[in-house]
């Protein structure tokens, strides 16, 4: 893996992208915008499943309106994040904070998928079951945790 990171960092395409101020700025804008769209839209669905947001609308209506934007945000963040990672691949690979961030983001995505799969079921029950609220709460905590983990990468490990 370390060898792959070394190769990636020295790849002429990655070097060219990293040395362009404009492309680096565009990637950063895409990464932040994608992350905000991802976390914000997921948080609203989680809050709806917890019974704390958009209570006049059915959970399935809120989810079907917002989940496409969650996945769009995720694609934007992953696409731009890959190029941001590639420019300093070795440093990121060796940084424990970055690995923690990736684990938390992956867990948050898994919980996002779980929430999206239980929402149609919630449409058929009269009141929101406690277990669904717990799953949504864990998803929300993981997404907030992923923001904190992202902020800790440059703060504690000095990378990015």
């Amino acid at each position: 893996m370390l060898q792959f990171c070394e190769w990636l960092e020295k790849n002429p395409w990655i070097v060219a992208i990293d040395s362009s101020v404009v492309i680096s700025l565009i990637l950063e804008i895409l990464h932040y915008s994608g992350f905000f769209l991802l976390v914000g839209s997921t948080a609203i669905v989680d809050l709806r499943v917890m019974g704390l947001a958009a209570r006049r609308r059915a959970p399935v209506d809120v989810a079907k309106q917002l989940f496409p934007w969650m996945w769009t945000g995720l694609c934007m963040a992953v696409f731009s994040g890959f190029f941001m990672f590639a420019a300093d691949a070795v440093d990121f690979y060796l940084a424990s904070c970055f690995r923690t961030k990736i684990v938390i983001v992956l867990l948050a995505v898994v919980f996002g998928v779980i929430v999206s799969s239980i929402v149609p079921y919630l449409d058929r029950v009269s009141s929101l079951p406690l277990w669904s609220k717990i799953v949504a709460f864990v998803s929300l905590v993981l997404w907030i945790g992923s923001i904190l983990a992202s902020l800790e990468v440059p703060a504690r490990c000095g990378v990015g």
Binding site: L25, A43, A53, Q65, I144
Partner: protein, 164 residues
């Protein structure tokens, strides 16, 4: 004018909360977390409404229904972002005040963006003609998307204009 703002910035930077944030190793990321969580809620609820006005994505709800459903958490996100942003600004106010990217972001783009968003929310129902959105509504949604992308552009450009 700059002297006036620098005097306020110096006072702000020496308040107890600003000194606590800048003097602590763990407080700064948590204040950033507050700002970013608020921004996620704000941007993550603004963009779906603007995209709905543009007719992009799922059409299960009308723009006004979506605006009403997201309203409370939209403004909660804004208040959290302002609180976190104010604390971040306080901790290094004298560094931010002369920064041109920060000046454009906070002095121009954010006020226009917020006022435009209020107009969009206020008129969301009037933009609708049955399931369709008028041309004005589409333009309003597009302008708001461009405004918030401009705010993010100015924000990520702040480190490029920092003087040490």
């Amino acid at each position: 004018m700059l002297d006036f703002f620098m005097a306020i910035a110096k006072w702000l930077q020496n308040t107890w909360w600003a000194l606590d944030i800048s003097g602590s190793t763990w407080a700064y990321p948590f204040v950033q977390l507050t700002h970013f969580t608020g921004l996620s809620l704000w941007i993550g609820t603004n963009l779906p409404l603007d995209l709905r006005l543009l007719g992009i994505g799922t059409k299960r709800q009308t723009a006004s229904q979506l605006s009403d459903a997201l309203f409370a958490w939209n403004w909660t996100g804004f208040c959290i972002a302002v609180l976190g942003g104010f604390m971040l600004f306080s901790s290094a106010a004298t560094k931010y005040v002369p920064n041109p990217a920060f000046e454009i972001k906070l002095g121009l783009l954010v006020p226009i963006g917020v006022l435009w968003h209020i107009l969009v929310q206020w008129h969301a129902r009037r933009f609708e003609h049955g399931p369709r959105v008028s041309l004005f509504g589409k333009v309003a949604g597009m302008v708001e998307i461009l405004l918030w992308f401009s705010v993010i552009t100015a924000a990520v450009s702040i480190p490029n204009f920092e003087t040490h």
